[in-house]
């Protein structure tokens, strides 16, 4: 059994989101963000067919933005 600790988990309801390419419902799946050799697993909506993942706007403009800004603040 996997013991992965996800840093963010998206609250996804059945049928809430669909893949624009495959036209099937997205399912929560693991996505790994990698910065400088460190992995940060998150559980986000993914297409079960093509594997394309969705990064919610809140996460993109929140933690991800903060990380990018911190890394650019050399």
């Amino acid at each position: 059994m996997s013991d992965v600790k996800y840093h963010e988990v998206f609250d996804l309801s059945d049928g809430e989101l669909y893949c624009g390419l495959c036209h099937v419902p997205l399912e929560n799946g693991p996505i790994t963000l990698r910065y400088m050799g460190n992995d940060f697993p998150i559980l986000m909506p993914k297409c079960p067919l093509c594997g394309l993942g969705l990064i919610p706007e809140e996460l993109a403009t929140g933690k991800i933005f903060d990380v990018e800004r911190a890394l650019e603040d050399k």
Binding site: K63, D66, A70, D73, K74
Partner: protein, 194 residues
């Protein structure tokens, strides 16, 4: 010292300092520390580096403020700690002149308000040829001290950046800018007592 580093929020963060145990081992290695050396971890925090030193067989003791030592003793009661408060009259480390061979100070010197006094007192407690092992933020040129000569250093900015990324992901909060502590880069340095 900033209250941020005495906060529960900081204590709950389990990465210790940039580079973690690998950084500590690199400093100890480049400082040629041996089991015969008496080692002080200045501003030892939760005792992470004390454990590294103890595992390597070094005779080590840690000092920090009373509130930090109280936490460290609960966190790891197997290590040796002494309370040390930086006072107006000077650093006054609780050790006799020349009684130590190595002082390790990781990610802390830049936080201390009276660095000159602390560096002078580190020199006082070190024996002849004693080493002052530092990791800290810097502006591109490692700091110079009249009491010590720099014998080795390397840039470790990647460790600071990795540390900050981990902080943001684990806490969801922005890390205080390192630039307010004297630089945006990070270095490891070995200084030898003059």
């Amino acid at each position: 010292m900033s209250d941020f580093y005495a906060s529960e929020e900081w204590r709950a963060f389990d990465l210790g300092h940039p580079g973690g145990a690998d950084s500590t081992k690199k400093l100890l290695s480049m400082g040629n520390v041996t089991p015969d050396d008496r080692v002080l971890d200045l501003c030892c925090g939760a005792g992470d580096s004390l454990r590294v030193c103890a595992e390597l067989g070094f005779d080590v003791c840690g000092v920090d403020r009373a509130s930090v030592i109280e936490y460290a003793r609960k966190n790891d009661p197997d290590q040796r700690y002494l309370v040390w408060e930086l006072e107006d009259k000077g650093a006054n480390l609780p050790f006799a002149d020349g009684s130590l061979d190595v002082v390790l100070c990781e990610c802390s010197l830049s936080l201390l308000e009276d660095k000159s006094s602390v560096v002078r007192d580190v020199r006082r407690v070190l024996s002849r040829g004693g080493r002052f092992l530092i990791s800290d933020v810097y502006d591109g040129n490692p700091p110079e001290f009249k009491e010590f000569r720099l014998v080795w250093w390397e840039d470790a900015t990647h460790a600071l950046r990795s540390f900050i990324v981990s902080w943001i992901w684990k806490t969801g909060k922005v890390f205080p800018s390192p630039s307010c502590r004297g630089g945006r880069k990070y270095f490891l340095g070995v200084y030898e007592a003059i």
